[in-house]
Symmetry: C2
Subunit: 142 residues, 2 copies
Amino acid sequence: MKNGYYMLMNQNTIIEKLSEKNIRPSLQRMAVYGFLVENPIHPTVDTIYQALHPEIPTLSKTTVYNTLKQLVDCGLVQTVTIEDGELRYDADISNHLHFKCIKCGTVFDVFKEITLPENLLPEGFVVSKKQTNIWGTCPNCN
Amino acid sequence: MKNGYYMLMNQNTIIEKLSEKNIRPSLQRMAVYGFLVENPIHPTVDTIYQALHPEIPTLSKTTVYNTLKQLVDCGLVQTVTIEDGELRYDADISNHLHFKCIKCGTVFDVFKEITLPENLLPEGFVVSKKQTNIWGTCPNCN
DNA sequence: GTGTCTGCAAACGATTTGCAAATTA
DNA sequence: TAATTTGCAAATCGTTTGCAGACAC
């Protein structure tokens, strides 16, 4: 899955992206952002932590939390609020939908934009973000 | 806000609705469901508890949780997952959108249905529920 | 009287905070 | 060296669970 060449490419892109946002590309930050970019599986904090912990044994969950907060604040990552109890994170900040299988729990991307109708909201409401979630069962679970 | 006549009407409707779902209309359950019906403000568990506690001093949060779980399970109430950390509840189970003001925190109903495009999902995906959330600022906060 | 319902207290799990040690410019 | 970053431990907060007493049929 990982080979030297692609990893090198990604590392550079990741450093660039972080630097653009004035976030120092520390080992931990690159690992967290890199994981999100390479694994578009909408992971939870724990999933990220469990995945990176073997590579970076000293990594703490606090740092994962801190890093994700920074990434979200600067707009590099979006949160996916598709269930209560735990947040999921997505390095793909394009406007797409999410489908969550209620049997296996997998969150799928649906790359289609829902255009909200004109005059959806009364005068005076300003939209800054929208998110559509769909629940159901996926092909593997039917 | 509450007068005897309307309350009586509501009480009867509430008893009927609960009974239809084979939920015994206890004092606590009627209070929780009644509160949701009369106050379409998408309250959190704590909001419901704080509102009802003065009227029913022995009420416990556990009972609010238990009751809400039953109401959701039987389809009388839907959960609104518009933020992490706390669930909100809505006795209006019609298919409508929610708008959350990021300044004052109020959740508004938007009574317009978003029809998902045909062939949105690949073969094999079965949709059971969808929810669209919009964030922004409301007229009071602009 | 038997089964359901309620509510206290404790447990739990995700997230946040305080702070000191480690790291980097 | 000074400022930033990391990570441990404790605190916090929403939610769930265990269980015993209260209540309803």
